[in-house]
């Protein structure tokens, strides 16, 4: 590995997940400093490009969540600036960030994913909301999960248990995004599986089981310390645990992801993992799942992040050599 000079942790941005991103950034920056790296933290604002051009970092750790951070656009800019960064390429991010597209791809790769309907607000407006919603319930049954097709932290996400609750869930969803994903609710054990690749191939970390006190892993349950119980590794039969690890690896590969991803799954009563979504810039806050999985695997977060930055820098050096 090359020697790493100063590295840049990018966090903040203008998405609804700005606060989460800033917390993720601080956590990773501290972990990197603890293993001896010189770290700069920056917001993604008008000063970013001049700052990178003036003083290019050895590598960037993007921790922007939500749009721009996870839809590939920021990474596209980093590519334009020829700065190495941790994580997937822009094109793969675009695919993974769009939940219905990701579901289609992982389904084709053999994973189970809950049946769903994807519709923009215009369709409901033009065809009549009530009739369309009735057809959706007739097709998918109840309960349902309604969420924006893009975004994270369960923002705009609702579990709908009766037809009466559906219109409100749609309004909440459309406040966060233009297109709604309405998905059949799958009962089971909620788990999250991180995949890391530090140059020797993708590797699934132990699944983390999520048991929110409120029954719903919403924003409050995610970011209030104490509001959710996490178990790592998840209390799953070994076959189901292996199936979760395999599912996360399949998703990571099928979507063409790189370095780091986190798949959110539900394990049903038969031990079958159902793919819900994948995150290309997973949360790294004090209450986030990836740091817990890293710890459960006996790894150190700072060392892992440093290795990923090394990998990114070396990759860029190789690419420059190849040109």
């Amino acid at each position: 590995m090359s020697d790493l000079g100063p590295v840049l942790v990018l966090a903040g941005g203008l998405s609804h997940e700005r606060e989460v991103s800033l917390r993720s950034g601080r956590r990773v920056a501290e972990a990197l400093r603890a293993v001896g790296l010189e770290v700069y933290e920056r917001d993604a604002d008008a000063g970013l490009i001049p700052a990178i051009q003036e003083d290019p970092p050895s590598a960037v750790f993007p921790l922007l969540h939500g749009t721009a951070g996870e839809d590939g656009s920021l990474r596209e800019v980093l590519d334009l600036l020829e700065v190495p960064y941790v994580g997937s390429l822009a094109a793969a991010c675009r695919t993974a960030f769009d939940k219905p597209v990701a579901k289609t791809i992982v389904s084709a790769a053999g994973l189970c994913t809950p049946p769903s309907v994807v519709l923009p607000h215009e369709t409901f407006r033009e065809l009549g909301a009530h009739t369309v919603l009735e057809r959706i319930v007739a097709r998918l049954g109840l309960p349902l999960v309604v969420k924006p097709t893009k975004g994270g932290s369960a923002l705009g996400c609702s579990v709908v248990r009766s037809m009466d609750e559906l219109p409100s869930a749609m309004v909440s969803c459309f406040s966060y995004g233009e297109i709604a994903l309405i998905e059949r609710y799958v009962a089971g054990t909620e788990v999250s599986v991180a995949v890391i690749d530090i140059g020797d191939g993708p590797r699934a970390l132990p699944a983390v089981e999520i048991v929110p006190d409120s029954g719903m892993y919403d924003y409050t349950s995610r970011y209030t310390a104490g509001a959710t119980q996490f178990v790592a590794p998840a209390r799953l039969p070994s076959a189901a645990a292996a199936a979760c690890a395999e599912a996360a690896l399949v998703a990571h590969r099928a979507l063409g992801l790189r370095d780091l991803s986190r798949s959110d799954l539900i394990v049903d009563a038969d031990g079958v993992p159902w793919f819900l979504e994948v995150n290309v810039a997973p949360g790294m806050t004090e209450t986030s799942l990836v740091p817990l999985a890293v710890e459960s695997a006996g790894l150190d977060l700072g060392v892992l992040c440093r290795d990923l930055l090394h990998l990114a820098a070396d990759r860029a050096a190789r690419d420059r050599g190849a040109r």
Binding site: F174, R203, Y219, A225, G226, R235
Partner: protein, 439 residues
């Protein structure tokens, strides 16, 4: 490639908070809030923030303040950097009586207790009067910081309706009678009679008389919060309730809006017996308010023409109020209504029927405008059709741009309402107002 082992895995459980079982019941509502998280975006320059309540202190004569503070340290440093008394610096308390004279209050400096902002005065008043479950009467809507204090002391808040002339006397009477029928008696009425936060209205002189009469008849204590009283845009300042009923009113004042919120200097003016308890409560809370901040304010008042400074602030806020009201008139969709403040910082808006300000917040942030949803100002989950707009911080052109964006957001929400029907969000989860540093 998980590590293979013959031993079964050890399932480690965590909640990321080792003390989760130890918290007091009053900490139950202290949780992460989706709405609060949205405010994290609001301080970015791309967003027009009509959410914050920070005064615009850019007009302060910083060179003068700098010189005064420098002299303070050089000449009285051993006092300014030492403990003060729990009741506060005597000279400052004298000066505070001069300030209160502008709203008609004649007071003895001995009855003034200096506090860490008027927020702490409210905390101390609640601490000495309220046990868990006690009832406090508040306007509907009410100041979010007051609701936070009442929640911390586990009070039950009963809201009393307001209209364009402020608190409605008949509703106050009804609330007291209804509680009496249940064998309950409110500990006090908390009110912001002048340039209300968030409602932007003021209690008319006739209403002031009526409210005092009702409180007198029912022997109800009044806590009068008056941070904006000197920031009126028309005529002389309104006469404080305390001016006419010294024995029944605890008056809370502040230098946060007229000088500096960063110094955190406020006060309570209270009847003697209450004052004595407030002093002891202050001593247990902080030992004493910060000496440096007190002397900084005192020096400023003694050496600078603070009344002219307040006049300049009034002019600045009047221009911003005018910009907001004019933009609202020009741009808001029909069926949207709002109050027309004659002072202070805030406009209270009521959205068209079936719209929900909390549900609308993410869309507003996407459109780069921020406000505070109305539910933040109610302890009982009401207020979802309303929102608070601040005109105190952004310059007039930004205010107009913010209102333009907000109007577009409301139009989009109206389309959603027409598609899916009316929406009302449920009870709140966590704090739904921005932190004090939001501009």
């Amino acid at each position: 490639m998980e590590g293979r082992s013959d031993h079964p895995p050890v399932h480690r459980e965590t909640r990321f908070d080792a003390d989760v079982a130890r918290y007091a019941a009053r900490a139950k509502g202290m949780v992460a809030s989706e709405i609060r998280a949205l405010f994290a975006v609001a301080n970015r320059p791309e967003v027009v923030s009509l959410a914050g309540g920070s005064p615009n202190i850019s007009g302060l004569p910083l060179d003068v303040v700098s010189s005064l503070l420098s002299d303070l340290v050089l000449q009285r440093g051993t006092v300014a950097l030492q403990y003060s008394t729990a009741q506060g610096d005597p000279t400052l308390r004298e000066q505070i009586t001069d300030v209160m004279r502008l709203v008609g209050i004649e007071a003895n400096p001995d009855d003034v207790v200096v506090t860490v902002g008027s927020q702490q005065a409210l905390d101390l008043v609640t601490r000495i009067f309220c046990d868990p479950g006690d009832v406090v009467l508040c306007e509907a809507p009410s100041y979010v910081g007051a609701l936070g204090v009442f929640a911390a002391y586990q009070c039950q808040v009963v809201h009393v309706a307001m209209d364009d002339e402020g608190l409605v006397p008949e509703h106050l009477e009804n609330a007291i009678r209804t509680l009496a029928a249940q064998g309950r008696r409110p500990k006090f009425l908390y009110t912001i009679p002048t340039y209300h936060n968030p409602a932007g209205v003021s209690l008319s002189p006739q209403r002031r008389e009526a409210i005092l009469e009702i409180c007198h008849r029912h022997d109800l204590l009044i806590v009068e919060d008056d941070p904006y009283g000197l920031l009126g845009f028309e005529g002389e300042p309104s006469r404080a309730l305390r001016a006419d009923e010294p024995a029944r009113v605890v008056y809370l004042g502040s230098f946060s809006k007229t000088f500096s919120p960063g110094l955190r200097v406020g006060w309570a003016l209270a009847p003697h017996a209450i004052r004595d308890k407030l002093v002891l409560a202050q001593e247990s809370a902080t030992l004493c308010p910060p000496a440096f901040s007190q002397l900084a304010v005192s020096t400023y008042l003694a050496n600078h023409d603070w009344q002219s400074q307040i006049k300049a602030l009034r002019e600045m806020y009047r221009e911003r109020r005018d910009a907001m009201l004019s933009a609202l008139d020009d741009l808001m969709p029909p069926s949207t209504t709002w109050t027309k403040p004659k002072g202070g910082f805030f406009v209270w808006m009521t959205l068209p029927e079936g719209l929900d300000s909390k549900a609308m917040s993410p869309r507003a942030i996407r459109e780069r405008v921020a406000y505070v949803p109305g539910t933040a100002f109610y302890a009982d989950g009401f207020g979802s059709q309303c929102l608070r707009l601040s005109y105190c911080f952004p310059p007039p052109d930004r205010i107009r741009e913010g209102v333009r964006r907000l109007a577009a957001v409301i139009e989009q929400e109206l389309e959603l309402r027409d598609t899916f029907g009316p929406f009302h969000s449920g009870r709140r989860k966590g704090v739904e107002s921005p932190g004090p540093d939001l501009r």
